[in-house]
Each structure stands twice: as C-alpha cells, then as structure tokens.
C-alpha cells in the first residue's frame, strides 16, 4: 500500500513540475516571440491568399520585432481589429504618425495620421476592411509582424516590406530606412 502511494505521489509531482514549467514557457513564447496563424479572406491579394478560399496561407507572426512598436512603411502586420476586439486582421502599413495620406473611399480626402497611430490598408483595394473604413489605428493594437509564409510549401517565401508607389504618403514627417522619396 505504501509503495503504490509513493508511486502515485511521485508521478503526480513529476506531472505538476512538467506542467508548471512547460505551459508558462510555451505560452510566453507564443505571446512574446513568435506564433503561426492562418490567413482568411481576400483583402491582401495577391500577396496573401491568391487562391481565394481554396488554399489559405499560413504565416509566421513575429511578436519580438514589434515589442517596441517600431514598424516601417510597407510592413505586413497583424493587429486587433478596432471594430471587433475578438478578431485579428492582417494588413500592410501604408503611413506612420505625422504622414498625410490620400485615402480611397474614406469620408475625408486627405488624412493626417495622428501621433501614436498608423494607417493600414489591404493590398486588394475595394475588398478590404482597413483604415479607409475605420481611420488610423492606435499602435497599441499592434499584434505582430508577418515575416514569412510557411504553408503551402510552394509558397514558402519571405514577405517583403514594399510600399506600392501609388500609395506613398503625400507628405511624411519621419524618414524610414527603406524606400521613401
């Protein structure tokens, strides 16, 4: 009787030790370093999900790069949706704070991005629920920077931070490291 109790107690202790070590480390890694997510929708075509509903891309989301909220124009980022806090949306950063953007379909023709905010747009204009609908978003909603496509294997690639030339800000206060007149 004493022997079987010893076995159960030892097993229970080992389980607790593993649980309290493995779970917090895994959760912290997924929250702070990197995680993986499937992209749904057509708002970022043709960069993401070019096949529509047949095949959804799976992207690598890098939290560590945005821990200080530093993003560049052209980055593809995921953020908490301002209209629905349960959902995350993935869009491209078009303008940083202080820039003046020419909007597509927004109620104002030109918008100056306030301090601490960014302007995001999907690549598929017209089929995208982005800053043209809800205005500039606060940097506090930034979730991660999408760096690579991991699945399907024929679409393995590093996502480049390019800004389409027609979407360059009309006037920018901050100079970024890549591409800006």
């Amino acid at each position: 009787m004493a022997q079987s109790q010893g076995w159960v107690t030892r097993y229970f202790k080992a389980f607790c030790k593993g649980f309290f070590v493995a779970v917090p480390v895994a959760v912290t890694f997924l929250d702070r370093v990197a995680c993986v997510a499937r992209v749904e929708g057509a708002s970022m075509q043709p960069s993401l999900n070019p096949g529509g509903s047949q095949s959804s891309d799976v992207v690598l989301l890098n939290h560590w790069k945005v821990r200080k909220f530093e993003v560049q124009r052209g980055d593809i980022v995921s953020l908490v949706s301002p209209k629905n806090p349960e959902q995350k949306i993935i869009k491209r950063v078009i303008a940083l704070e202080g820039d003046i953007v020419k909007t597509i379909g927004h109620k104002n023709r030109y918008v100056k991005v306030p301090r601490g905010h960014i302007w995001v747009e999907g690549d598929h204009h017209g089929h995208s629920f982005d800053s043209n609908s809800f205005g500039p978003v606060s940097l506090g909603l930034l979730h991660a920077h999408a760096t690579h496509i991991l699945w399907p294997p024929e679409r393995w690639q590093k996502l480049e931070s390019v800004l389409p030339p027609e979407r360059l800000p009309v006037q920018s206060e901050k100079e970024s490291l890549h591409g800006s007149p």
């Binding site: 779970v23 480390v25 912290t28 929250d31 702070r32 606060s138 909603l141």
Partner: protein
C-alpha cells in the same frame, strides 16, 4: 508591467533559489584532482545552466500571471481624484478583459491611444452603442455622439483635470489591459 520588470523579478527569485541550493552541503570523497575536475566542470557549467533555466522559468510564470491573471500597479496623476490619489497602489485583474466582462462604471487600465508605451487609468463611462455627451467643458453648445462598435468611452473622475475620451475620442476595446478592483492608499 514591462518586460524589464519581469526580468528583474525573475533574476531576483533565481538568485534566492540559487543561494538556497548552494547552502546544502555535498560530501565528495576521492583524489583531489578528481574532485577539482568535478567541481570545475560539473559545478560551474551545471550551475550556470540551472541558473539560466530557473530565470527563464520564473520569467515565463511571471509573464503569464501579469498577462492573464492580474498584477499590482502604481498610479500617478491627478485625473482620477478623489477615487484614486497620486501614487496609490492598485490591484488590477485581467480576467474581465479576456471574457469581455467590462461594465459601465469600471475603472480600467488601458494603453494610451497616443503613446502605446504608457498606460492610462480611467473610468468606463459608455460601452459601444451608448449615447455620450462629447462636448468639452468649455463649449457652449452640447453635442452628443454614439460610441462606435468595438470602442469604449473613458473619462477620469477629476473632470477638470483629466485628458480622456473628451479629447482623444473613443478608445478601442483592444487597448484595455485590465480592471482595477482594489486600492490601497499610500499618501
């Protein structure tokens, strides 16, 4: 809670654990060069790995606690007087935010909309869909607005001395960090 604070707490706990472990005596018999070899290699290398391992473990547990359960915060500023005075210690819990249980009248901690690295501490006056008086105190004509979906309207209790939603507009729900449920006055 910033990541630097987590690292500091975890290093402190690791050092305490380390000192405790070292106080246990270990009797090693054998030739002097053998015990020296054992001490040097297994001792230092093993202890370093264990130190790093414990640090990572405590940092991760601290992160999970602050992110999903709650923590202790010090508030500064006059915008919530007389409810919360300057340099009061408050306890915030994060469960309401994850289960979307924030109500009107709750005092919440949120990321500042204009500076994501700093936090603000205000009261929730309106949830999405509510009709809010949005005119500034100095305006003569009162104006009303509806709080858009996915946003909340925050105001400080000290209305004369508070920069809140009356100045920067409704705040997205995603910026809320936690709800304050306990205050200990320190002044």
């Amino acid at each position: 809670m910033s990541f630097m604070k987590l690292k500091a707490i975890s290093i402190l706990l690791t050092v305490i654990n380390f000192i405790n472990n070292n106080n246990k005596k270990s009797g090693d018999q054998g030739p002097w060069w053998q015990s020296l070899h054992r001490t040097m290699l297994r001792g230092i290398l093993g202890k370093t790995f264990r130190l790093v391992g414990y640090t990572i473990q405590y940092a991760c547990i601290a992160h999970c606690a602050f992110e999903y359960v709650g923590g202790v915060v010090m508030c500064s500023g006059p915008s919530m007087e007389p409810t919360i005075q300057n340099s009061d210690i408050v306890c915030a819990e994060n469960l309401s935010r994850h289960f979307y249980g924030i109500q009107r009248g709750d005092i919440v901690i949120a990321k500042s909309p204009s500076d994501p690295k700093s936090n603000i501490c205000k009261r929730v006056i309106g949830l999405e869909g509510d009709k809010i008086l949005t005119s500034r105190p100095s305006d003569f004509f009162k104006s009303h607005n509806y709080v858009p979906t996915g946003h909340v309207w925050l105001e400080g209790d000290n209305l004369q001395n508070s920069t809140d939603s009356r100045y920067y507009g409704p705040v997205p729900y995603g910026l809320i960090r936690g709800r304050i449920f306990f205050k200990k006055s320190c002044s």
